[in-house]
């Protein structure tokens, strides 16, 4: 359960009938008091196969964050079933690093809580910091790092948990464009080397097309799956690629239709 090293690295030999990593079935979630509540998710169903990089796009109020919260067991659905098979980790919009710990200590805490023996902590955290190109910054505290560096530390911390399923909630929303491009490359490389399942929430359609095997378009208020788009373009996909641009436009138009439905709300 704990050992990240024990996970098969590149060649994932799965039985043909492997169960999906993520299954969401008919989930309802509402907030607020009865009568005047806001329906965040209404009968949403979604399946993500093991090892898939799935992107969720939707405008505000589509319940993206709620869905991730349900999968990470931070919240409970009022109706329906939520199933995540494997160890789940969640990366937030803002890097939720503990400000009283250094970058390395944040990672070590994740290792410790994942049950990794203490003699391995410092080596493993050094490895993980190197993986996200932060070697030499382990002694810094979160406020002494830039936004992009904090998000990379958060990624390293999530990897330290030995997660099979990585949930990401608009993780690069607050990062500048140049850093974001690099982070896309890094994330893609880490994902393809690890065989993890990723569910990546974003409102940036281009980002979704750049990264996803699949892009799931959500409706807003209440959130449901409007359409799913399979992205079969070869990786890595340059962001300026015409095929990327074309798909981005198509999905953006679909999303715009969804938003316009709410013009008269």
């Amino acid at each position: 359960m704990t050992a990240m090293a024990a996970r098969p690295s590149l060649t994932v030999v799965e039985p043909v009938v492997a169960k999906p990593a993520i299954e969401v079935h008919g989930v309802h979630k509402a907030y607020g008091p009865r009568g005047s509540h806001v329906l965040a998710l209404s009968g949403i169903s979604l399946t993500v196969e093991r090892g898939t990089f799935a992107c969720l796009v939707g405008a505000s109020g589509c319940g993206k964050s709620t869905l991730l919260g349900l999968l990470a067991k931070l919240e409970k659905p009022q109706l329906g079933r939520v199933k995540a098979r494997g160890r789940v980790s969640l990366i937030f919009q803002e890097a939720a690093l503990f400000p009283w710990l250094t970058a390395a200590q944040n990672i070590e805490l994740a290792l410790r809580l994942a049950g990794v023996p203490s003699r391995e902590w410092s080596d493993r955290s050094a490895d993980l910091l190197r993986l996200v190109h932060l070697d030499g910054f382990g002694d810094r505290r979160p406020h002494e790092l830039s936004g992009g560096m904090r998000q990379r530390t958060a990624l390293a911390r999530a990897l330290a948990q030995g997660a099979d399923i990585l949930l990401m909630d608009e993780p690069f929303g607050a990062v500048d464009a140049m850093t974001r491009d690099l982070l896309h490359d890094e994330l893609e490389a880490i994902w393809s080397a690890s065989g993890m399942t990723v569910l990546f929430v974003t409102h940036d359609v281009r980002e979704a097309v750049r990264l996803g095997d699949r892009v799931v378009i959500l409706t807003s208020r209440p959130g449901r799956v409007a359409e799913e788009v399979q992205i079969d373009l070869p990786r890595p996909r340059p962001i300026g690629d015409p095929a990327v641009a074309e798909l981005t436009e198509r999905i953006t138009n679909r999303l715009r239709e969804e938003v316009m439905r709410h013009a008269d709300d």
Binding site: A72, Q161, M178, L182
Partner: protein
Amino acid sequence: MRTTEIGQQMRRERTFAGLDSLELPISERPTWARRLWGSAWPQLAAIGLVLVAWQLVVISGWRPAWVLPGPLAVLPRLVDELRNDLPAAILTTLRRATLGFTLALAIGSFIGLAIVRWRLLRTAVGSLLTGLQTMPSIAWFPLAILLFGLSEGAIMFVIVLGAAPSVANGLVHGIDHIPRILLRAGRVLGARGIDRYRFVVLPAALPSFVGGMKQAWAFAWRSLMAGELLVIIAQQPSLGVTLQLQRELSDAEGLLATMIVVLAIGIVIDLLVFGTLERRIRERRGLIETAA
């Protein structure tokens, strides 16, 4: 093909390194001595000003010199007392302060945690705790003396009643105001039960807890002085007893010298111990700018 891939990887790493060094917040730390001097000289100047004002009042002849002696008489006397009887009195008082404060810390922390854990308890005693702080500690002494006699027990009782609510309040306030995202992050990492408190809740609440401790110290010190003036225990010279004795002997010089010691101890512990602790914690978390 292979070489271009490696080239790309290197370019990527160089770009990361470049961005990182450009984006890093620049923090300029003034040297330790500079910072110390920066805060010390205005304070020293203020103390000097107070001494001058004091001397001027004495010169004006508002009260006779045997009632209100000036700093020129009191300060040498202070040095003299510090060579003779005062150290023993200071030691007794500090021992009581340490014991009482430690008790208040333990009891206050326990109450604070209990309030956080049980909603009903919070509704029941949450506001009462703040109300308890408005009770002048000296008003507890008659009861304390009835309960414990003229003993250290009576003094400890009042110190705990005065200081524990501040500790509890600081802890409760700190836990209440933990950013939700940190609690969620803790749960995602799998911190449950004791681990949740040990690795997430308590460290996150620490700044406010230290603030509560600082306030608790002020209450404890006041309660202790009141207690030592009222609860006089034979054979135990303390700062309070010294003050009382000096008043009875109309020894104004000695009285003022002792008062300076009382004031100095209170300030030194407040500023040097708790003030430094608080500032360190805030700095480490990036809650205040390091540069003045």
